[in-house]
């Protein structure tokens, strides 16, 4: 599964949820969907603006964890 480390980056850059949503251009509900890992997909445009605002790489936000039943 893909883990979203958004809260880690937000703490590092010291930016709140509302401020991030405003700067990235997402609604609060969409951002919370992303943060609580309910999202099914993310658009490249969204990833682009997230990385721009948080000045980081996609790998800092997205992390791959192998599922328990994978060998």
């Amino acid at each position: 599964m893909i883990r979203i480390n958004l809260d880690v980056m937000m703490a590092k850059r010291k930016i709140s949820l509302t401020e991030l949503a405003e700067k990235v251009g997402l609604t609060m509900s969409n951002l919370s969907v992303l943060k609580t890992e309910k999202a099914r997909a993310i658009r490249f445009s969204t990833l682009d603006s997230l990385c721009k605002v948080l000045t980081c790489q996609p790998g800092d936000i997205l992390e791959y964890l192998p599922d328990k039943d994978d060998k």
Binding site: L26, V33, A39, R40, A41
Partner: protein
Amino acid sequence: MKNKNESKNLLKVLIDLLWYGSLFASVILVLVTIAFNLSAFGLINIKTPVVSVELNHHAYRFNSQYVEARRIDSIIDDFVDRKLASELYFTASGEVEAIEQLYGIVYSKFKSLPIGAQQLGGVGYRNYADLMPVRYFSLKEIPQFAIGLSFLSFTVIAFLLIIMYSVRGLFKSSVNGNSFSQENANRLKYIGIYFLLGEIVRIFISYWVNNSVTRTEWFNAIRQSYNPSFSDINFALLFAGVIFLILSKVFQLSAAIKEENDLTV
């Protein structure tokens, strides 16, 4: 923006009105059916107005006690001796009470009119063709008629309840902008199933009712029977049922696509 909200609310109120009206009509219909059955089998004695129903090439006029069954296609014309039948018609004594009740006339006055210009219930008949084949019976004589009619009224009640409830749900969700949901897919599925099953059951029930009535008709010593024909099957309803089932699958797929889209940030 305010106008849009107002019109939305108006539509919602209208569709609710339609649903509650159908609920009310179903309750009334249930009571009427029960009262009709009680009266038909002689348990209570109530006077009801005369109702006409057309079922598979037969026109039935009935009140709570007697039925007039009249064949309305021309298939029988070639086989009936009209003069003989008209004599039978005018001299049938067991049916006096039925004729008097169903047409609200006094039979003795009726009999005295000249044969060529009979008045029946205020309508003049110009020739014998209007009069036959016709048969009067009391509801107790052929109980299948009352039972079959009750089944058909339950069909109407089921239609009102199932279809109106589903349409109400569909309408409200579409007014809110959430048409593509699994719930709506289920509603369409129920409508489709009801159309198919309801039509098939109706075909069998109306065939049964008509057969029970026509098996007892004797004309020129030819015992009539009712043959099922394709014109009694409402193919439009069967087709609509199939289409609704297909549509339900489409809505199911669209619900999945919508969810995927909604959860894409």
